[in-house]
Amino acid sequence: MERRGRKDRRQGAVAFISLALALGSALAPTFTYAALGREAESTDVDQKMLHARKGVRPGAEFTVHELTLPSGTVVREFIGPDGRVFAVAWRGPTLPDLKQIFGDDNLQAFLSTPPEERSARKSRTVRGQDLVVHSTGSARFFTGFAYKPSLKPRAVREEDIR
């Protein structure tokens, strides 16, 4: 059932893009943010918006789309069997644009959910019902991860998301 749902969504997305191309740029797809919680294709949006190189690492439980940013920071986007991005993780000398890799809705949830742990600027941990984020770092080193518990395959542990 899940697989079929995924295929349907993909067909829908393709149809929309085709329509947009047919009618010109006025109807071009407007989603400019990815990727957490969205379809695997949204990692292409992140790749473009972050000016990144992309590599794909298939695995048994999930596929990782690995984006290497111009700064050297690596963003890893985790795609589950349902074809959706259930987690993102990052590590490197610059903090990636969290609005880009979380999507605006998840960024707002990160900023507004009462944190489990927080220190101004240095780190913030949020453990909400549908969003878990650890973010830490400063100066020239940042690392963190975020995932959607509702999308995370049960066999994947939090410590696998790095």
Partner: protein
């Protein structure tokens, strides 16, 4: 600064700020030509909380080449960032408006969006100022001026919670005196889509742009005529029961004067990209180690302790409340293989915080979500001489970047 960690959850206790003027130990006052007093206290007057374990100095800010100056107190000293950033409104308009704007080749003023791990950010103009501390001067130095009324709206790529005011920051500004000369470096000099530096043509918002190193926010000490290879922080020892305040020194230069000799300090080189070194706890290795005066705790991963203070305790939530208290004999190791013993102790902070009158502690910790990360924050600095050497700068123990203690 990205770097300055004030554990805000704990700061809401007292009112008034300003820091109790209690006895507090002292290692001396700043009569030297290359040192200023560094005080650990509650922070600037008027903020709605008391800082804990934050060290402050005063900086004199002048319009370039003039005597139009203002001395700003309670600038937080941060060895894990680069450059001076001033909170909204701390400079009077006569000085603020006389600081020369940094502009790009088409004369558009430059601004910076400095984003932090917790989702907050600084947004402010790049301005040139002459900075004076003791007898040292950093002339025509790029700083960041936060919250100026002429700033355009936050641009694309600069999303987060804006922090501009003294109350937001808990200080009148931040003085970054870390290992790096520039706050961004070559990445922002060569890459226009850096999401950190912006050009703001009149009336049309701001867009990301590359900024040459010479115009980036810069380590003020690197601009001094002498004593320009790093800093030494000397804070007095405090008792495990804490202190109302503590007074020490921020000394400029390493091995350049009688008062900043390395002596028996171990020199640990840090990696030149991230500024990190390794810390061992017995047989466990933490690869993302750092020394950070701008962190007000020991940041410890859950493999060392995960006993969070109760979220319901407004003064201690966010800290570790270990039971029993514990001590660790950590070993810090530089990239050069040099090792230094780094013993620390961590206690349940609730008795320390209960009076609301103490601001200086050598034994408080908070969880580090990075399982490989261990930061020795300001609690580590009490009773030690801690050196932070600037990248590429010559010292008697070789070139930076390194830390030594």
């Amino acid at each position: 600064m990205r770097h300055l960690a004030m554990l805000l959850a704990a700061l809401i206790a007292s009112c008034g700020g300003g820091g109790p003027p209690g006895p507090g130990t002292s290692v001396g006052t700043s009569t030297a030509a290359n040192a200023v007093t560094m005080i650990v206290d509650g922070g600037p007057a008027g903020i709605p909380f008391n800082n804990i374990d934050a060290g402050f100095v005063s900086v004199t800010v002048c319009a370039p080449g003039t005597n139009n100056c203002q001395t700003i107190d309670h600038i937080m000293v941060d060895t894990n960032s680069t450059g001076l950033r001033l909170a909204q409104g701390v400079l009077n308009a006569g000085v603020a408006n006389a600081l020369t704007p940094q502009r790009d080749v088409s004369a558009s003023p430059l601004a910076e969006c400095l984003r932090f791990a917790d989702g907050s950010l600084f947004w402010g103009w790049l301005r040139l100022a002459d900075l004076k501390m003791s007898a040292e001067q950093a002339l025509s130095t790029t700083i960041q001026l936060l919250g100026d009324p002429t700033l355009p709206a936050l641009p694309a790529g600069c999303a987060g919670t804006l922090q501009s005011t003294v109350a937001d920051i808990g200080a009148n500004g931040v003085l970054g005196v870390g290992n790096f000369i520039h706050d961004c470096g070559s990445f922002c000099a060569t890459n226009s889509a850096n999401g950190q530096y912006y050009r703001c043509p009149a009336g049309s918002g701001c867009n990301s742009t590359s900024v040459p190193l010479a115009q980036q926010v810069v380590h003020p000490v690197s601009r001094f005529a002498q004593d320009n290879n790093g800093v030494l922080i000397q804070l007095p020892a405090v008792l495990p029961t804490g202190a109302p305040s503590a007074a020490g020194l921020l000394v400029f230069g390493i091995g350049t004067q009688a008062n900043n000799a390395l002596g028996s300090a171990r020199v640990l080189t840090v990696d030149p990209v991230f500024g990190l070194f390794t810390i061992f706890n017995g047989s466990t290795t933490y690869t993302n180690g750092s020394l950070d005066s701008g962190s007000n705790v020991f940041w410890l991963p859950s493999s060392i302790n995960n006993q969070l203070c109760p979220a319901s305790d407004p003064t201690a939530a966010g800290f570790l409340c270990p039971s029993p208290a514990f001590a660790l004999t950590l070993t810090a190791a530089g990239q050069n293989g040099t090792m230094a013993s780094a013993p620390i102790s961590v206690v349940d902070p609730r008795p320390l915080f209960s009076s609301g009158m103490l601001t200086a502690f050598n034994n408080i910790a908070a969880p580090n979500p990075d399982p490989n990360g261990l930061t020795l924050g300001l609690p580590f600095f009490f009773g030690r001489n801690i050196f932070t050497a600037i990248e590429g700068a010559a010292t008697p123990a070789g070139s930076g970047p390194y830390v030594a203690f």
